[in-house]
């Protein structure tokens, strides 16, 4: 289960609209309870997409940027608990590339579909998938998890 506030949820979706028709990506910081398999988001941090060669259908986060985000989070007692990216004109379902390139076992991978006319897009669905399996890459799978958006504004 992934818990996040309405503000964080909106920030993730807004990022997808801002970078449309390119993919956006970012990091979810917070805490994880392994016993209940629950991740609680405390901050949403935007990251740059290093895949400038094919930004409409690929994303990648620079490890150096990830280290800086992690160091900032640590000061607030927050850890990396997941990532998010967008699918411009494509469903909020993980792709075979997403699964092949996912390596953070036990983390949430949030995907937002953004539909548009190739100039401006609107966030449609946001879904969260947890990566299960062994960190050596065997028996990996992404399973949809419940997403609880807390204190909704309406």
């Amino acid at each position: 289960m992934l818990k996040l506030s309405q503000t964080e949820y909106a920030a993730i979706r807004q990022h997808g609209e801002d970078t449309y028709p390119h993919e956006c990506c970012g990091v979810l910081l917070g805490s994880v309870n392994l016993d209940t398999d629950t991740r609680v988001v405390q901050s949403v941090v935007r990251a740059g997409n290093t895949r400038t060669d094919s930004p409409h259908n690929r994303y990648s986060i620079d490890p150096a940027e990830l280290i800086r985000i992690q160091m900032q989070g640590r000061k607030r007692g927050e850890d990396i608990i997941g990532f998010y990216h967008s699918h411009p004109d494509h469903p909020a379902m993980w792709s075979s590339t997403d699964l092949a390139e996912a390596h953070w076992i036990g983390c949430s991978y949030v995907i937002t579909s953004v539909d548009g006319d190739k100039t401006t897009g609107k966030a449609v669905f946001t879904k969260s998938w947890v990566l299960y399996g062994s960190p050596d890459g065997s028996a990996k799978q992404l399973e949809e998890e419940e997403m609880i958006v807390q204190n909704p504004e309406q």
């Binding site: 990648s60 490890p63 150096a64 800086r68 699918h87 390596h103 960190p135």
Partner: protein, 94 residues
Amino acid sequence: MSQIKVQIPTPLRQYSDKKDSVEVEATTVGEAMKAITTAHPDLRRHLYTDEGKLRAFVNLYLNEEDIRYMQKEATEVKDGDTLYIVPSIAGGRG
């Protein structure tokens, strides 16, 4: 020998007694990796292939520098350095 800190990413902490970082003594990145996989043997198969090669998705950063652009595992470490183990974050549709 230098005293350095190895930062463990969230998915691998179950193999490091839940520690987020481990202090090791080493003179190079390779020695630090050997020290940590000796202290926590379960980390080894998650970081290295059966042939002993670092898995392709595992990035090693000394402070904020990619060791691939330094002297790789022969890169020297000094007191107070932090070695980050960072699995890659990427994906795409289709």
